[in-house]
Symmetry: C2
Subunit: 208 residues, 2 copies
């Protein structure tokens, strides 16, 4: 069935063409300005072709997200996995998260802010899996911090993980949505990282 294989390859090639054109526009002009017609024009196809490969625009955006960032969060955890000290590892994870978020605002929005991402049921499970995996790695790290005496041991790791995630997500999203402008800070990014460091120093158990 070599012919069918070739056909499938050709189909996938068109799909990839759509995706890469969409990604270019998405990164350059943002979510709202990525239109079906713009994508179609860019790849010199008719607008209708997109609906042969994707259910609707949400579906396309989701595929975009999945294709490029499938393991982005996991990669973040993997990149710090060889750090021996659990607290240093936790710190580095959070800093990496913040850095990624402010360096890739469009992707960050797709991942953690836009509702359309959550609307496509098909991808939900995948997100669930990736997300649950990330949360697990975070909890693992938290438990290690407890064992090493950095954190109190009487707290549920679930709650600490949410605290940590909320903190970094809060920082990134306030920054990306320009809400940190109410602070008359010369260097907002430095202010964020400073605050994050202070945050981590505050939630530690004080030496007894």
């Amino acid at each position: 069935m070599g012919i069918n294989e070739r056909k499938e390859r050709e189909r996938d090639a068109v799909k990839d063409l759509i995706l890469s054109a969409a990604r270019e526009i998405f990164l350059a002009e943002g979510y709202e300005n990525t239109s079906i017609r713009k994508i179609a024009t860019k790849i010199e196809y008719s607008p209708g072709i997109i609906y042969n490969h994707f259910k609707d625009k949400n579906d396309l955006l989701l595929a975009l997200h999945d294709k490029a960032f499938e393991c982005k969060i996991e990669a973040l955890f993997l990149s710090v996995q060889n750090m021996p000290d659990p607290l240093e590892r936790l710190k580095a994870t959070g800093r990496g998260y913040i850095q990624y978020g402010i360096d890739n605002p469009q992707d960050y929005e797709l991942m953690f802010i836009l509702s359309c991402t959550m609307e496509a049921l098909a991808v939900k499970e995948e997100f669930w899996q990736d997300g649950a995996m990330a949360i697990n790695m975070l909890k693992q790290n938290i438990v290690e911090c407890m064992d090493a005496g950095y954190f109190r041991k009487d707290i549920n790791p679930d709650e600490i993980s949410l605290i940590l995630w909320s903190q970094v997500h809060g920082l990134v999203s306030l920054h990306n949505k320009e809400r940190l402008n109410i602070y008359a800070m010369e260097d907002q990014k430095a202010f964020m990282f400073r605050s994050y460091d202070v945050f981590l120093s505050m939630i530690q158990k004080s030496l007894s």
Copy 2:
């Protein structure tokens, strides 16, 4: 000049008509589904009329926001102002913020997530003032917590204020955008408030 006054009253009446119709649609169907034509149809006017009262759609949404929530954040601070213990006051402020955010997701989005809100330069200053005032009250509260021995005194209140804001904003926005679904929690809201309490207990200076 009684006639001019009446005319101005009539003008304002139409403006209010637009705003209340817009608010109804906005709350019922969200930002994206609030269209100029829907508003115009609801108040039985032509679409063009809206542009006699507002520069564009952003301007209208901003007026909506300002009208209903001008002092919402300040009211939050005022409602807890009579609490004697600064830490209890801080706790209550945060809880109130979270509660407000999850009870009024559309308004919360308008205030802290949507970019269109930040785009209308005219309102920026107003937001700046309200925001700066809120931040100041928060910092004031933080200093009191320091003085009362709840927090370490070697930290800049600016940084603590950002930590606190990021935390509650992170919780609210992750919740409202359905990202907390990756936690298989029966009661997400209870989980949030529990985490917030733990957060506050963790950032306190341990008794020496």
